[in-house]
Symmetry: C2
């Protein structure tokens, strides 16, 4: 059996390795247009930052062997042809035409795997092709950035506030640069996060010294030794990192008459077979199903690519391994913040379901345990069935665990009630007695039952802008209030523990919005006020950072 | 409405607080025989160790208020009577007889909540009641231990290798003591871990300088200024910490004619109502259902207690909140190791199901990311349906996340196939491209399909003991092999990358057991050997630590 794989990234090499493990006889050839094999591109920001000391570390096995042509040939009997371009598939004759060093060749296949990945797309902006505008998709990109810095660069502009853009901000800032992030949409990480969650990330970036310009389009870039980036205003920089998204490399499939979807990704079934039964495809160049919406989507993630490789190999060998689809789980580290999401944002979910959502902020571990952090969770669920549709978690606490638990709950089609019933691992170093995921479900239930009369920060902001008459009750201790004042009109501070004795200080005819850093105390305070006969009381959902970042 | 709550621990105070939030009018009285209110006993080992600086930190709110009588009275209008003993329930008259300072009193209730918790039980051993034998269940216990140390104690014996025993070992060792752990059963954490997983923990404890004696019964303790603990041999110590388990405080329920189960826990329904509709009970003094086996069990965990409080309050107020049961999830930190479990051990599962299991060892994050650790996972599943029944995870890597994901999968009644399809959060700082949970499912599938011909460490050990003729093929690099020799007979080292070229060095007629630290390379090597026509090849499951700790 002759198998040709186009592309030596995660999908390609996983397919090759798994094929070899299952079948000693197959002739496996990998055709790669570049020179890198099996390189973890997700590690590039960490190489840039210096956390990973060499590019080779990104293509080594855990036991230190560099995954090059020789490694695959010697260990796996897999032939990898680098710097070899796949030109054309002849499906009738089952051959692939390739070119190397100017010469052309044709190779026969029984099965062909298209694992061509994706390529960067840049907006059509005058000057974007300047030598001083780089990506962060390849070792060459990272090395070029490091060279700029060696040569004295001090100021960088990052164009694009998605995953890689945010990781790039961290890396460049850690390298001591002045960093300006420019994002065309109204917020950073726009596909992952709803506006209020995204604002937390922006605010944190600013705290870390990154200038963040959202809703800002780059109009042109002028090179004059350094760069001038025109984006409403003029931003001067020594170089720019443009990471504005990717596009599936599906041209070879189109040319061969294979079905390609509106997403630009090659159409495959759950076995990752194209409409030609002898041709499989996987990774960034295919479209997969979003399990929540049924929509087709391109999921350019390292985990998906690795899973695809396994599925393709099994099916080529007559197995029946499936890849059902994705729910859009993703995570990024930004300095000491973790930013994670799974399922649908509220914004997206509204196109498909009637949804509700809830915000919860709390400690990630028992609050007395050293190193405790904060997690802020937004949970999105279907109004009628209470099925979990998505979550976003942000904070300096343990975020990934909560995302993964909710991601598992989504795959398990669980509801709010199921989350409440989870039996998660509790000990002080790992979690509060009730895990934030479970408490979030509790808060959602309190909200549905009217026990928790929430007001969103957006609404408070609007009322402030309209000059409406209401009171903001800051329920923190005096020490906390002194330490960080809330710069808003009509704020009164009464510590929660004194509230019952001091209710007389509060007006009964005005709306009172109770606020605190996390929302827990504000909720308690609202219950006290209601029990004291106040009937215009609302709780700022999720805590005041949601208001202060507006 | 008059509500009396017996016990001011997590269940009691959660019930009181939630009642108050939902109902401003209820008269809520908490009767507590001791003097502590709402104290996090799970934090005691960390207080002992010095990670938490004062006992008050264990009863403070996150914003620094000490949860004492005054706090509950002022903030929540909840009356807490400390050092007040609940003597007897008169169910007909709906009264509770209490005693305080020698005087007796009777209080009326509409609803009564029994939240009496559990108490330590000690084995009946001569000398166990010595002043120098303490528990680790109360602040007084912890303070007593610290006093011994102040007075010069250098050697401690910990009797009981369960959760608290293991946490005590860490704390005492960190305080600079010589520590000997004595466990009557054949292994540490015996209810949480199967033997092979438990041995990893024992070996690690030994590495950390703790003497571990399993299958060892303490026969008698003699006090002579210091202590002599007779347990097969004689262990000298300055004091002993006896943490050999707990027993529900259900006597008051028995006396009142309430139903109490064989476990010793009070019988309650999903609403946590006893067989008297006006009496609820929760926490360590009740029995709950194990959702996997249907068995009744006492679940003395902080998270369960807090959940129970919420359920009880809701139901007293006419709500319909349920507590379905537990699956036995738990976690302990032991130095830099995390030890977690969820669902059933293989040992226990065999009483109810036909089960299979698989061991997987791997990196917790991308192997090139700084601080990467190892997790070793045992996954237990039902043979026929492939439903996940339990998991144990141990290692210096991120353990809690994997436990919680599998715990969620168990609640969701998921199968191996579902685990494979999980869409978890990947980025290098959080996880390898394929999360260890998913890889464990892959390995299970490989094993079921015969691709991964595993041999358990126990079997290898037996073969070694019988002097059977077989070869151990150590597949590590030369540097690794030099660095740590495997002290077993018939070991040959051929690095994986050289294997294809050196197969001639291996005999075709003898059984070859391939070993490596994690098991991944050994699997790959086995596929190569099989492809080269070797047919007596097996892979040491989970990596050689499972063999070396035997």
């Amino acid at each position: 059996m002759d198998v040709i794989i186009i592309g030596a990234g995660a999908v390609g090499m996983k397919t090759a390795s798994r094929l070899r493990r299952r079948n000693p006889e197959a002739e496996i050839t990998v055709v790669e247009s570049g020179k890198w094999i099996s390189l973890s591109r997700c590690g590039l920001p960490y190489f840039l930052e210096g956390k990973v000391s060499s590019i080779d570390d990104l293509r080594k096995t855990p036991y230190g062997a560099v995954r090059d042509e020789n490694f695959f040939s010697k260990l796996k009997k897999v032939k990898v042809l680098t710097e070899t371009k796949a030109l054309e598939i002849d499906r009738k004759r089952k051959t692939l035409k390739v070119s190397k060093n100017g010469g052309e060749d044709e190779i026969n296949y029984d099965y062909l795997v298209i694992a061509t990945g994706a390529r960067a797309v840049r907006p059509k902006i005058p000057g974007i092709d300047s030598e001083r505008v780089v990506g962060l998709y390849s070792p060459e990109d990272a090395k070029k950035i490091l060279r700029f810095i060696e040569e004295g660069a001090k100021r960088a502009v990052v164009i694009g506030g998605g995953f890689i853009g945010l990781e790039a901000c961290e890396a460049l800032k850690m390298l001591g640069l002045e960093v300006t992030l420019i994002e065309a949409l109204d917020r950073v990480a726009p596909t992952m996060l709803d506006p209020e969650m995204s604002r937390l990330v922006s605010a944190y970036l600013k705290e870390k010294g990154v200038k963040v310009l959202t809703s800002t389009k780059v109009e042109k870039i002028v090179e004059n030794g350094a760069l001038k980036v025109y984006a409403g205003k003029e931003v001067e920089a020594d170089f720019a990192v443009a990471v504005t998204g990717i596009k599936p490399n599906s041209e070879i499939a189109v040319k061969a008459g294979l079905e390609v979807g509106k997403t630009g990704g090659i159409v495959v079934n759950e076995r990752l077979q194209t409409n030609d039964e002898f041709i499989y495809a996987g990774g960034d160049c295919v479209e997969t199903v979003n399990l929540l919406t049924g929509e087709k989507t391109v999921a350019p993630f390292g985990d998906v690519a690795n899973k695809h490789g396994r599925v393709i190999a099994d099916n080529i060998l007559g197995g029946n391994t499936r890849f059902r689809g994705v729910i859009g789980t993703a995570i990024i580290k930004v300095f000491d913040f973790s930013v994670g999401a799974t399922g649908l944002t509220e914004e997206r979910a509204r196109n498909f379901f009637r949804v509700s959502s809830v915000l919860f902020s709390g400690f990630d571990r028992t609050h007395y345990y050293p190193g405790v952090g904060i997690v802020r969770i937004k949970l999105v669920f279907e109004e009628e069935t209470k099925r979990i549709l998505g979550a976003q978690v942000v904070g300096n606490g343990i975020v990934d665990k909560r995302i993964d638990v909710i991601a598992t709950a989504i795959i398990g089609k669980m509801t709010l009630e199921d989350l409440e019933q989870l039996d998660l691992a509790y000990a002080p170093p790992y979690s509060p007695a009730i895990d934030p995921v479970i408490t979030t479900a509790y808060v959602a239930k309190n909200k549905l039952e009217g026990l928790f009369n929430a007001i969103k920060a957006e609404e408070v902001k609007q009322m402030l802008q309209k000059g409406e008459d209401f009171l903001i009750l800051d329920i923190r201790t005096e020490a906390e209030a002194k330490n960080m004042r809330i710069n808003l009109p009509n704020v009164i501070n009464i510590p929660l523990t004194e509230l019952r004795n001091r209710v007389k200080e509060l007006p009964r005819d005005r709306l009172i919005v109770v606020v605190c850093p996390l929302g827990l105390r504000a909720y308690e305070a609202s219950r006290i006020l209601i029990s004291e006969g106040f009937n215009k009381v609302r709780v700022l959902e999720g805590g005041f950072p949601f208001l202060l970042t507006l």
